[in-house]
């Protein structure tokens, strides 16, 4: 508080000069205005009115409509990318689970059920993503829907084929799964990129 007081006292000269000039300016302005009659232009200039309304409209569009649209799109985009990330994570989980079983001679009933369940979880995550995409961007939905469903069905065919019941399990069963899931992972990444770039 004391410091502030000292600072004001130090600059008091400057403050007084500023006030003096302000008062002088006001007096000069008042004298000039009293001697010059104020002219009111009663003519309505529609071009200026139009200009003013246009400026206001553009301001409103930019301020509310475009800004809100941009922010909503950003939120939806984040949701879609989050869903795609979940699909990728689940895909890695399925792949890792199968990779862990490479040394097994034949699958137990529980292991078979687990593989089928993992694909089911993947299917559900894809359905959630596709339903959201359909609601917010139907133009992209058709193409992405086909890519994802074909990818999932191809992987499901390899994972839950007769190879699941072979005794001993053939090595190419695992090789096909690795190849198919990597291909599918690539497709998911491409879709991610497509959404980041074009939505």
């Amino acid at each position: 508080m004391k410091k502030l007081g000292d600072k004001i006292l130090k600059n008091i000269g400057g403050v007084i000069v500023a006030i003096v000039f302000l008062v002088l300016g006001l007096i000069v302005g008042a004298i000039y205005q009293s001697k010059t009659p104020v002219l009111i232009d009663e003519k309505i200039r529609y071009s200026e009115l139009l200009n003013w309304i246009t400026t206001m409209s553009i301001g409103v569009i930019i301020g509310y409509y475009l800004k809100n649209k941009y922010e909503n799109n950003k939120i939806i985009k984040n949701f879609l990318l989050e869903d795609l990330k979940n699909i990728s994570v689940q895909l890695v989980t399925v792949k890792s689970y199968c990779f862990e079983l490479r040394s097994v001679i034949s699958f137990s009933e529980e292991q078979r059920k687990e593989i089928i369940s993992q694909v089911n979880v993947l299917d559900k995550k894809i359905t959630i993503f596709l339903n959201l995409l359909k609601d917010c961007d139907s133009s992209k939905h058709l193409e992405i829907n086909e890519t994802l469903i074909n990818g999932l069905n191809s992987l499901n065919k390899k994972l839950t084929s007769d190879g699941l019941y072979e005794n001993p399990i053939q090595q190419f069963y695992f090789d096909e799964i690795m190849s198919e899931s990597s291909k599918f992972e690539g497709e998911v990444r491409k879709i991610m990129l497509n959404i980041i770039r074009n939505m």
Binding site: K113, V119, N120, T127, I149, N153, N156, T160, D162
Partner: protein
């Protein structure tokens, strides 16, 4: 005009929520068991009466390809030996309406199998 849906099968409720395997030797929820105990009779009756059979896939825990191939694939494949592959696929698809509320991929997997049945025996 679309055909009347007269028969219905909900795989999860009427058969098993965990269908898996091709042959009965691979489990009691196999494709062979579903084909012989549920699908064949209802589908042939539907074809005979010129009505539809609705197959509801909702609630199934996955859709194992060995099950699909051992049931719908096997039926279309065997029918194809009698009336021709293309005709068999068309006939089966004409009389079956698939419904699924929880997956976008299941219906396509089943219809793809009927259109192009691949079976072991």
């Amino acid at each position: 005009m679309s055909m009347e849906i007269k028969y219905r099968i909900n795989i999860a409720k009427d058969f098993s929520p965990y269908p898996a395997g091709r042959y009965r030797t691979e489990g009691k929820s196999s494709g062979e068991a579903f084909l012989n105990d549920h699908l064949m009779a209802k589908l042939f009756t539907a074809i005979n009466q010129n009505v539809m059979l609705e197959v509801d896939l909702t609630g199934m825990n996955g859709y194992p390809s060995s099950f699909i191939s051992g049931s719908f694939g096997k039926l279309t494949f065997e029918l194809g030996k009698l009336i021709g592959k293309k005709e068999a696929s068309e006939l089966v698809l004409k009389h079956i309406a698939f419904v699924c509320n929880d997956s976008n991929a299941k219906v396509k997997a089943f219809t793809d199998e009927i259109s192009n049945p691949i079976t072991k025996k």
